[in-house]
Amino acid sequence: MRLQFDDSVEAFRAELLEWLALNRPSAETMAADPSVSTGHAPEWARRWTRTMFDAGWLVPGWPPELGGRNATPTQTLVYLEELAKAGVPRTTNVQGLGIVAPSIIDYGSEAQIRDYAMRILRGEATACLGMSEPDAGSDLAALRTRAVRDGDHFVVDGQKVWTSGANYADFCFVFCRTDPDVPKHKGISILIVDMDSPGITVRPLPEIVHPEHPDLNEVFFDGVQVPADHLVGELNAGWAMANGSLAHERGMVWVSAVQGISEAMAHLHEEAPDRIDALPPDERALAIDRITQVEIDAFAARCLGYRAFAKLARGGSAPEQALMKLFTSETRQAVAEVAAALQGPDALVVGGASFDGHQAIDEPQGTWLEQYFVSFANTISAGTSEIQRTIIAERVLGLPREPRPA
């Protein structure tokens, strides 16, 4: 138990920072052509991905041929922290780089790796993740989108919803039901589907704030023909891969989540003195105390993250990730709520906020009140907070599962 990293980690950090200073896209470059959806990679983003890939800084923990440098987990942690601190996105296509590419590399064929994963890694393509459905939001086993084998193709029919980035992505990682006759979680497979395939309709779903920049979509599949060799891994083995994919997503998501919280706290601390000064005396201590409460949460999130990381590095498991997902998403929400309350009626005024692009899922846009609303994306998606609590209760605390309904 100690507060400092050892010298080799610090040397790694120094090398990264030096490289970043020379190669990163400037804030002006990014603002001039913002990413308007998590499936959208503007020109600068594509170049930046390629630059990182070539230098082995895209996925440092992977070998050089996959855009990495065989970094240790601790080095990867430092990498993610420093990138977040520098205010430069690792990617604008978070699910492509974070889930789809690793899943294809883990489970896909050589051709799939070459044609899809590597194109994501080189900044040539973006991907979206087709999991949620209208009647299967948090309940993947209930999904209904069907893929029926027909010669050398699958024919896909059905509907996905909440598909981030589908309005811009080049392809979709689609979870489909390929065997309707077995128990619900057993007949699921994953297909790679090109988004320009005939029969796909994408309907953007404007959000509660900033409806002019939709990122979520409904995706309709109507007799979409998908080559049979676009099946990822084994037929009907999608459930196990989903757990693998989610683990990819959740493994170190806390790093950017924690960094997002820190940045939000830094903004709040900037604003706080003037706002507090404007309050009647007896309200000041209350406002300060609310800020202090979230400040403690913010710091606790970082400490918890480091501890979860230490456990993960020693072979720990998913429940720690449930705790981090729950705590960071609720803390981010609380920071926005406290900051909006501090603004009082000024919080209601939203005209002044600019939109600087979907740079990372943990960076809600706009005013504090808008950020508060947007923050629910993180307490709802990828397993609601309610589901995280159930996971913690059952898998960490060992409480009995609910009896099956009669």
Binding site: L205, E207, D277, P345, L348, V349, A377, R389
Partner: protein
């Protein structure tokens, strides 16, 4: 003490609810949000029904039904996020006119030919409840204004604005009220999260008002106390509106929890969801009971000093209730509630707006404590 509506009030509520279901559907609210429609017709129908006149004294050409009837309508309008000048006109300007005995303008409000609002809040003030705007005497009972008001509800459209001012730069305690017509000042509309509750900043520098527009002479006996009563009145109305919106969020969320299935059963059958909704129900009931208690102190024109305390409790509880309703309403709706296409966000944004205007929960708790003699 009887905190239930009587038969007449219940009938009024049911009638208003039926009328608004037709006259103010979510599509009308959406039109206002998206800039593709207005609610002018709704206000006209309300005027035709005599709603602005309902609570105004018969002597001022009103229907004399009192504040409880008015509050019933405020609640029904809050339920459906109605975009109307009712709240500002009837619960902010009218009570100030009544306190000041301004019969003519009151009669115009009753007739539906005048809308109005109350301008209290100032961004520039060091302390948000401290008033710095001034009305400086310039002879002949006339005064010239100096200052800026902001977050004024309907401030860019109201026909008449009652402005809380001091009598001059050195007059620390001398609060007063002047009535300014729309055409006299610059109003800067604010882009707000809930366009059905339009706010504006009013620039008042150099505006001259005649003696008959000084509704309450700054520094006159009990001026601060009388203005406080009107603020309590407006605050209670805002609390009633907020709680009604929160109840609509609760109802929408309960309905969704009954319909939405996950893991093979309605999500409302999961115990954790049930308990969250039970707690939200409790928060709504708590705020509602306090709001209607406070409404009684307004309706009965309680001058024992209890009305401001009741208003503080009501608005504090409304704020607490809004916090839970917004959070749980949005969270339990899942992705659906997160979309622009769903109507839920109209309720959420209205709830936040009414919770923040006229003081949030913490501010009213501090004021309540001060009434109780507890000050840090």
């Amino acid at each position: 003490m009887d905190l239930e509506l009587d038969a007449d009030q219940l009938e009024l509520r049911d009638h208003a609810r039926a009328f608004l279901a037709d006259a103010c559907p979510p599509s009308l609210v959406r039109g206002v949000y998206e800039g593709t429609g207005t609610a002018d017709g709704l206000w006209k129908s309300m005027v035709d029904l005599g709603w602005p006149a309902l609570g105004i004294d018969v002597a001022d050409d009103g229907l004399g039904q009192g504040f409880i009837a008015e509050a019933v309508l405020v609640g029904e309008l809050g339920r459906v996020v109605a975009p109307t000048p009712y709240l500002a006109t009837v619960t902010q300007l009218a009570p100030m006119l009544a306190e000041a005995g301004a019969h003519d303008v009151l009669a115009r409000i009753a007739a539906g030919t005048c809308t109005g609002t109350l301008a209290v809040h100032e961004t520039t003030a060091k302390a948000s409840r401290h008033i710095t705007a001034q009305a400086i005497p310039i002879g002949g009972g006339r005064r010239v204004l100096d200052g800026t008001k902001t977050h004024v509800l309907d401030g860019a459209t109201a026909d008449e604005v009652a402005v809380v001012v001091r009598g001059g730069p050195d007059d620390e305690r001398g609060l007063g009220i002047v009535l300014v017509p729309r055409e006299a000042f610059d109003a800067e509309p604010l882009i707000v999260i809930d366009p059905t509750m339009p706010l504006a900043t009013l620039h008042l520098d150099g505006i001259e008002v005649d003696a008959d527009r000084v509704l309450i002479e700054p520094g006159s006996p009990e001026a601060g106390w009388r203005i406080g009563l009107v603020q309590a009145h407006a605050t209670v109305a805002m609390a009633i509106s907020c709680v009604a919106t929160c109840r609509a969020i609760l109802e929408a969320t309960v309905e969704y929890a009954k319909q939405r299935h996950q893991f093979g059963r309605p999500i409302g059958s999961f115990q954790a969801i049930k308990h969250r909704l039970a707690d939200l129900y409790l928060a709504v009931e708590r705020a509602d009971a306090l709001a209607w208690y406070a409404a009684c102190t307004i309706a009965e024109q309680d001058r024992s000093g209890h009305a401001p305390m009741a208003a503080h409790m009501a608005k504090a509880a409304a704020g607490d209730c809004q916090r839970l309703a917004t959070r749980d309403g949005l969270q339990l709706h899942g992705g659906i509630g997160f979309t622009w296409e769903n109507d839920l966000h109209f309720l959420l944004k209205r709830a936040v707006t009414t919770a923040f205007l006229f003081g949030d929960a913490a501010s009213h708790r501090v004021q309540l404590a001060q009434c109780r003699g507890l000050e840090a």
